[in-house]
C-alpha cells in the first residue's frame, strides 16, 4: 500500500475516463510529434540533396518543377534543352561545374539518369559492389534500386519510356548493371545512373536520320559528349556568390533556358506547406488543451465523488499534501501514458507516411529516434497533467473533515 498504488487503483476504477484523457493527450502529442518528425526529415532530405547545387537550368516552365525533377527526381521534367547551350555556361568564369542530366526513362518506377561522372562525385557516393559504368548502356544502380528491383551485377534489363514504369519498353537495347552504389541517404539511392550517351543511344532509332551523328570528343571527365544532342537540365555550381548575382538573369534573358535557384524554390515550397503544417499544429495544440481539460474534469468529478473518501483518509491520518500528491500522481501518470502512446502513434504515422512516400517518390523517412523537441513535448504533457491535477486539489485544502464526515 502506497500513494502510487492508490493512484493507480483510482485510475483503474474509472477506466473510461482515464482512457479518454490519455487518448486525447496521445492524439495531440502524436500529431505534434509526427509533424516534428516529418518536418525534420523532409527538411533533412531536401537540404541534403540541395547541398552544393547553386542553380539548375532547364527548359522554361515552372522553376519549382525544374528543381523537383532535377534535384529530387519527384516531378516530371520541364522539357529538353540543347546540350550546346548548357555547355556554353562552362565558359562563364563564375561557373565551377556544370552537370548535365538527361532523363525520361525508368525501370520498375526507378528513374534512369544519364549524366556525367561529376554527378557521382558531387554526391560523394561510393560503389559498394562492382565498378562504375564506363561504357554506353552500362549502369550503376542505387542501393534502394538494387534491393527493390532485385538487380545484381551483370543483370541486364530493358528500360521503359516515361517515369511511371508504364510506358513502352525499349526492348531492342538492354542496360547492363556493372556496379551498385553504397547507401548514402541521398537521391542517388533511388536512381539508375548511366552515361548521357546511353539515353541518346536508346532513343536514336526513333529519331534515326533526324539527327546527324556528330563527332565524339573526349571531355576532361572522360565522358563522351555529343554536341547537337538535347539534355533535360543541368545542375550548376558557382565559383563564388557573384555568380548568383549575374548568371540566373543572363540565362533567363539570353538563352532558351530558365535558371532556377534551389534554395529559393525550396523555401517557397516550404512556405506553401507551412500553412498546412501550422494548421495541423494549431489543431494538435487544441487537442492537447482538451486533453488537459479532460484530465481536469475527470479528476474534479472524482474529487467531488470522493469527497467523503478524502475526508475519511484525512481522518485516518493522511495529510492534505499526501492527498494532493495522490491526485498529482494520477494526473502525471495519465500524462506519461498519453505521451508515450502519442510517441508510438507518431512513429506508426511516420511508418505509414514513409510507406506512401516510398511508393510514390522512393523517398524513405525511416528515422524513428526521439527528437530533442519531443523531450520538451514530454515536459509540456507533464505540465498539462500537473495543472489539471493541481486545480481540483485546491478542494482538498478547503475540505472540512468533520462536516464532510457528519453530512453523509
Amino acid at each position: 500500500m502506497n500513494l502510487f498504488k492508490i493512484s493507480l487503483a483510482n485510475i483503474r476504477e474509472k477506466k473510461l475516463n482515464s482512457f479518454l484523457s490519455a487518448l486525447l493527450l496521445a492524439l495531440g502529442i502524436g500529431m505534434i510529434s509526427l509533424l516534428l518528425l516529418l518536418n525534420q526529415q523532409l527538411d533533412e532530405q531536401f537540404r541534403k540533396n540541395i547541398k552544393g547545387i547553386d542553380m539548375v537550368v532547364g527548359a522554361k516552365g515552372s522553376p519549382l518543377q525544374l528543381i523537383l525533377s532535377s534535384i529530387y527526381q519527384i516531378d516530371a521534367p520541364t522539357g529538353n534543352v540543347p546540350l550546346a547551350e548548357v555547355n556554353s555556361l562552362r565558359k562563364n568564369p563564375f561557373v565551377k561545374t556544370v552537370i548535365p542530366l538527361s532523363m525520361g526513362d525508368s525501370y520498375q518506377g526507378f528513374r534512369i539518369l544519364g549524366t556525367t561522372p561529376k554527378y557521382i562525385e558531387h554526391y560523394k557516393v561510393k560503389v559498394a559492389e562492382g565498378h562504375i559504368h564506363n561504357a554506353s548502356m552500362e549502369v550503376t544502380v542505387g542501393s534502394k534500386v538494387a534491393r527493390n528491383a532485385g538487380l545484381k551485377i551483370g543483370d541486364t534489363f530493358a528500360s521503359s519510356h516515361g517515369l511511371d514504369g508504364e510506358g513502352d519498353q525499349h526492348d531492342h537495347k538492354k542496360y547492363k548493371v556493372t556496379g551498385i552504389f553504397a547507401a548514402s541517404g541521398t537521391v542517388v539511392d533511388q536512381l539508375i545512373i548511366t552515361r548521357l550517351s546511353s539515353i541518346w543511344d536508346i532513343h536514336e532509332h526513333a529519331e534515326a536520320g533526324a539527327e546527324k551523328h556528330e563527332e565524339h570528343h573526349e571531355e576532361a571527365g572522360g565522358e563522351a559528349e555529343e554536341e547537337g544532342q538535347d539534355v533535360t537540365s543541368a545542375l550548376i555550381q558557382f565559383r563564388n556568390p557573384m555568380g548568383l548575382m549575374t548568371i540566373p538573369r543572363q540565362v533567363n534573358t539570353n538563352t532558351s533556358m530558365q535558371a532556377a535557384l534551389p534554395s529559393i524554390e525550396i523555401n517557397r515550397l516550404f512556405s506553401l506547406l507551412g500553412v498546412g503544417i501550422e494548421t495541423l499544429r494549431a489543431i494538435a495544440l487544441v487537442i492537447i488543451t482538451i486533453a488537459g481539460v479532460s484530465v481536469f474534469v475527470s479528476l474534479y468529478n472524482s474529487l467531488k465523488e470522493r469527497k467523503y473518501e478524502m475526508a475519511l483518509m484525512l481522518s485516518m491520518g493522511a495529510t492534505r499534501t499526501s492527498l494532493f500528491l495522490m491526485l498529482l500522481i494520477e494526473g502525471l501518470f495519465l500524462s506519461v501514458v498519453g505521451f508515450f502512446a502519442g510517441i508510438l502513434l507518431s512513429r506508426f504515422g511516420l511508418l505509414l507516411f514513409s510507406k506512401a512516400a516510398e511508393q510514390d517518390f522512393h523517398y524513405s523517412l525511416g528515422k524513428f529516434a526521439i527528437l530533442p523537441e519531443e523531450i520538451y513535448l514530454l515536459f509540456a504533457a507533464l505540465t498539462v497533467g500537473a495543472i489539471a491535477a493541481a486545480l481540483p486539489s485546491i478542494g482538498i485544502y478547503k475540505l472540512n473533515i468533520s462536516r464532510t464526515l457528519a453530512e453523509e
Binding site: A9, R12, E309, M313, G317, T319, A406
Partner: protein, 208 residues
C-alpha cells in the same frame, strides 16, 4: 483510556454545545445516548480530535491533546483512535484488504497483512478480502470498518451510530464484536447512539 473536561463547542451564536465530562478507562465501555440535535456527532468528533473544542480538553492515554499542530493531531488520531462511522465508507477503488492496510499506511506503521487476515477470520469476512468493498452487504461492510478501526491497535475505539442501519440480529452481532475486540486489545470503547436497543448492553451510560 479517554477522558474529557468541560468540552464546549459552538457552530454559531445560537448553536452552542456544552458537554458533560466523560471518562472511559482501558477495557471499559461507555454508551453516550442522545436524541438527534443533541450534538452526539459533534461530541464524537471532538473526542476523535476531528474538531477543536472552543474550550476544555480531551485526554487520551494520559496525554492532553492541546496546543498541537494539525499534523501532530492527525498522527495521534491515526495511531491511537479507531473510528467506526454510522455508514461504512471506504476508498472505493481499493479492495477490502487494501482498505484495511490503508489505515496502517496512513498511520505510518508497518503494513500488517497477517493481522488483516486474522481480523477478517475473526469477523467472518475472510472470503471477501480481495473484493471491492461495494460488493459487500451492509452488515459485512460494517464488520470490515470495525476491523479497519482495529488495525492500528488503538487506545480508544469510537463508534458513531454503528448499529442504526442494522436489523436486530446484526445489531447484536456488531455490538458483541465491538465489545469483544476492544477488550482483546485493551482499548476503551465509546459508542455514541440514539439506538435504544443498546441501552441494556452498556453499564456505563451518559445521556446528552
Amino acid at each position: 483510556m479517554i477522558t474529557s473536561h468541560n468540552l464546549k463547542f459552538s457552530y454559531s451564536a445560537q448553536k452552542k454545545f456544552q458537554f458533560p465530562d466523560i471518562s472511559c478507562g482501558d477495557r471499559e465501555t461507555l454508551l453516550i445516548l442522545g436524541q438527534s440535535g443533541k450534538g452526539k456527532t459533534t461530541l464524537l468528533h471532538l473526542l476523535a480530535l476531528l474538531l477543536q473544542p472552543e474550550s476544555g480538553e480531551v485526554i487520551i492515554g494520559g496525554r492532553s491533546i492541546k496546543h498541537l499542530s494539525h499534523e501532530q493531531i492527525a498522527l495521534i488520531r491515526a495511531k491511537t483512535i479507531g473510528i467506526i462511522y454510522q455508514r461504512a465508507h471506504f476508498v472505493s477503488a481499493l479492495s477490502v484488504i487494501d482498505n484495511m492496510l490503508l489505515s496502517n499506511f496512513l498511520a505510518e506503521k508497518d503494513q500488517d497483512r497477517k493481522k488483516a487476515i486474522y481480523l477478517a477470520n475473526e469477523l467472518g469476512f475472510a472470503e471477501h478480502l480481495s473484493k471491492k468493498t461495494s460488493q459487500l452487504s451492509q452488515g459485512e461492510q460494517q464488520r470490515v470498518s470495525i476491523a479497519r478501526a482495529l488495525m492500528n491497535d488503538p487506545n480508544v475505539i469510537l463508534a458513531d451510530e454503528p448499529t442504526s442501519s442494522l436489523d436486530d440480529i446484526n445489531c447484536q452481532r456488531v455490538i458483541d464484536l465491538l465489545k469483544a475486540q476492544s477488550a482483546s486489545i485493551g482499548a476503551s470503547l465509546v459508542v455514541v447512539t440514539h439506538d435504544q436497543r443498546l441501552k441494556s448492553e452498556f453499564s456505563n451510560q451518559v445521556i446528552l
